[in-house]
């Protein structure tokens, strides 16, 4: 049976040789641009070529399945002695040979070019291929198996994309720091497990039985399940899942702190985008946080709160990570609701997920050098003139750290001048891409004299080492909201 599987595979490869050549060419282009990129941003060209590569991969897989279409009753092969395992094997071999193997090799080459030894990162590279299979190969194979032609498939992809697109964008946003950083969470909460399992079920049913309508119904059910699943997944859910998977060794507790006098408010308080919006009331509650072990820091991820008015009305919302900054809890409440309850005693229940971390050893790098940094990866910097992006500065310094493992928390990077002054970055950025390497970029704005003396400055890079997660719950009663207006 093996030789017949290869026989069908060779036939498909012969038929689709030009599409294969295109995919390989695009793969080489993406790998080349990625391997030579010194920025966290893929850039317009790489972005378009990556999209084109994804579309070409999907088309290639679909065309290979449609070479021996499973839908219909007129195909010449269905009266020939094909065995379904060999047919399925041939199609899987095709996807492996012309999508996954080139992608894996390209990733290994990119790692090598960026100073990482590919052998040390094999599990990460394989994990990326697993995710690619769950997100692209298997769903496309499943769709091609139940649809008659490429046009039907394209239309279906557009329809499904429209239905779950916003959730996919959300997922991408949550994990934009790295393809791999959220792998365990993804596998846990079903972002990709659901499409993976359902795609496999459809593929097996259709290849083994060719029961197109049953497979299509299963496909529709799959889309509904994925949409429902995605609807239930929220940032707080993901954070809770992370806490369940990797609990930190601490007993953090939070209580309401004393409100400082107006003049004692920290001037580093960041303005909040909702502050100018009249539909919302901004509240700022002082907190007293206890139970953090010595040497451990906390970063509060997404926070969920529930406000209960005296009449029993409840208001529930989630807050972005910066909502619980330092020792302050920032809330936004609808103005209409706030006006009704601001002078009453309300109950506030808060659930926050804290990422515990420890600072590692600081490494100092000369500017415009490229070196490994322990517990970070590799970091490099370059002085660039970039007035448009950075505003008033004369020039800019871009420091990029790279790691195939991703950055649950980015390292702290400072520019230390010869006089000992430390300048912090004005911008810290990530960008999603197909790259096997996660990059975090810090930009520093330089004035004329700083720009001139940049050669004597150094970068100090301190890794932040994650020590687990903890769900923290706070129950505050008899709150008088008007006391905390921001």
């Amino acid at each position: 049976m093996m030789h017949l599987m290869l026989h069908i595979f060779k036939k498909d490869a012969r038929r689709l040789r030009w599409a294969i050549a295109l995919a390989l060419l695009l793969q080489v282009a993406v790998a080349y641009v990625d391997a030579t990129r010194n920025s966290a941003y893929p850039g317009m060209q790489e972005g378009w070529v990556t999209i084109l590569l994804l579309v070409t991969w999907a088309s290639l897989i679909a065309l290979a399945v449609h070479e021996d279409s499973l839908v219909g009753d007129r195909q010449f092969w269905i009266s020939r002695p094909y065995r379904w395992p060999m047919l399925l094997g041939a199609k899987l071999l095709f996807a492996t040979a012309f999508v996954h193997a080139p992608s894996f090799l390209a990733d290994a080459v990119i790692l090598g070019a960026r100073g990482f030894h590919p052998w040390e990162w094999i599990p990460h590279l394989l994990a990326k291929q697993l995710m690619l299979a769950a997100a692209l190969t298997l769903p496309v194979m499943a769709m091609a198996a139940v649809l008659q032609n490429f046009a039907q498939l394209a239309l279906t992809v557009v329809l499904i994309g429209a239905v779950i697109g916003n959730r996919v964008a959300f997922v991408a946003d949550v994990f934009m720091s790295s393809w791999l950083a959220g792998l365990r969470v993804i596998l846990l909460d079903g972002f990709l497990v659901a499409p993976f399992v359902l795609s496999v079920a459809i593929i097996l049913l259709q290849f083994a039985r060719r029961q197109t309508w049953r497979s299509r119904i299963l496909g529709i059910v799959s889309v509904v399940v994925v949409v429902l699943l995605f609807s239930f997944v929220s940032p707080i859910f993901i954070s809770r899942a992370q806490a369940a998977l990797d609990p930190g060794d601490s007993r953090i507790s939070i209580e309401l702190g004393a409100m400082p006098a107006p003049g004692d408010l920290p001037d580093t308080f960041e303005p909040h985008p909702y502050r100018e919006d009249n539909r919302w009331a901004e509240l700022k509650l002082p907190l007293h946080i206890a139970g953090i072990p010595a040497g451990v820091r906390t970063y509060f991820m997404t926070t969920e709160f529930e406000l209960t008015a005296p009449d029993g009305r409840r208001y529930k919302d989630q807050i972005e990570p910066h909502g619980l900054g330092g020792h302050w809890l920032l809330l936004r409440v609808r103005r209409a609701l706030f006006d009704k309850i601001k002078n009453t005693n309300v109950e506030l229940k808060v659930t926050a997920v804290a990422l515990l971390f420890r600072r590692g050893e600081t490494t100092t790098l000369p500017l415009e050098s490229n070196r490994p940094v322990p517990l970070v990866g590799r970091c490099y910097s370059e002085v660039v003139e970039d007035k448009d992006r950075l505003g008033d500065g004369f020039g800019a310094l871009r420091a990029v750290c790279e790691s195939p493992a991703g950055f649950p928390l980015p390292p702290d990077i400072f520019l230390r001048q010869s006089g000992g002054t430390a300048i912090g970055p004005i911008l810290t950025e990530y960008a999603p891409s197909l790259s096997p390497i996660s990059r975090v970029q810090n930009s520093f704005s330089l004035r004329q004299e700083q720009f001139d003396s940049a050669a004597a400055s150094k970068l100090s890079i301190t890794p932040n080492i994650a020590r687990g997660w903890q769900v923290v719950k706070v129950d505050l009663r008899n709150l008088h909201l008007s006391d905390y207006v921001y």
């Binding site: 017949l4 026989h7 009753d73 010449f76 009266s79 020939r80 002695p81 094909y82 065995r83």
Partner: protein, 302 residues
């Protein structure tokens, strides 16, 4: 094995439309069995159900000793199937197509294929898409005969082909695979009359009859009765008389169960004053036309 192909009360319903109704037939080994019927009679449905391309709604079919529902690669390796509406891989050259098919059949014979390629004058370097319909059928047949299948199933393979090509293909099938059982469908009666040993007639999914060609020819007669004087056609005629028509003193009909003595007795009973009775042997085409016409009349009466 007495019958390489047998159906028992086979039914196939597509949503609300019946494709096959209670089809029971047995194809003897080594026979050339023709399944006839007008377009839409259910011939293609029957063939696709036999090949496990469609699942029967009820009843069953046994093909090469195996229930059609579980017909797999082992049986398909012994079956040659050519259909008029088969989708061929048009991008393949004839040569590549034949070499591609070869790998799937352990009994494939290169010498047989070489003979077929020569006989059919197949252009090995031409793409299937660029071939005429006749040439495509020849390529499909070559790929289905080179492994000497035990059972050959042909679904309207010759429709639209000119007589010479048709004759050539029929001859090649019978010569190359003398031991094979051939089960073919057609709505063109003249193309199978010369070589079918058995014939079955399907109409609206229902089997009207199935029998040996020789007995069918003996059973049907075209009868013309000339009366002594004009008379009204009786309303009650024997069931076996199909399509009775009267023109003056001449009454014509098709007797579907002709037996000389019985026929004469029935004519005398129905028409007391008969001047002359003419009996003609019917070619298959005429039999089928009479059957189709009779079915249509019966349908109209319902």
């Amino acid at each position: 094995m007495s019958s390489p192909l047998r159906t028992e009360h086979l039914c196939k319903i597509y949503r609300r439309q019946e494709g096959l109704r209670d089809l029971t037939l047995e194809v003897p080994e080594g026979s050339v069995y023709a399944l006839l019927g007008p377009n839409g009679a259910g011939k293609t449905t029957a063939m696709k159900t036999l090949l496990n391309i469609h699942k029967p709604t009820s009843g069953r079919a046994v093909v090469l000793g195996v229930d059609s529902r579980v017909l797999g690669a082992d049986q398909l390796a012994q079956i040659g199937y050519v259909s008029e509406n088969q989708q061929m891989p048009g991008w393949m050259t004839v040569g590549y197509f034949l070499s591609y098919c070869k790998e799937f059949y352990p009994t494939w014979r290169d010498s047989d294929l070489a003979d077929l390629v020569k006989l059919y004058e197949l252009p090995l370097d031409r793409k299937l898409n660029h071939l005429s319909r006749g040439m495509r059928v020849k390529a499909a047949l070559a790929s289905s005969l080179a492994y000497r299948p035990k059972l050959i199933i042909l679904d309207e393979p010759f429709s639209g082909l000119d007589v010479l090509v048709r004759e050539q293909l029929i001859e090649s099938i019978l010569e190359r695979t003398p031991e094979a059982t051939v089960f073919l469908s057609s709505h063109d009666l003249s193309e199978i009359e010369s070589f079918a040993s058995h014939v079955a007639y399907l109409n609206e999914g229902r089997l009207e009859f199935a029998e040996e060609m020789s007995s069918l020819s003996q059973r049907f007669r075209e009868i013309e009765v000339t009366l002594e004087q004009p008379a009204t056609m009786p309303s009650l005629l024997p069931d076996t008389w199909l399509n009775p028509e009267q023109s003056g003193v001449v009454v014509g009909f098709t007797d579907s169960h002709f037996e000389s003595e019985k026929n004469r007795a029935e004519i005398q009973r129905v028409f007391p004053a008969v001047r002359e009775v003419t009996t003609r042997v019917m070619p298959l085409r005429a039999i089928m036309v009479a059957l189709a016409k009779s079915a249509k009349t019966a349908q109209g009466a319902r």
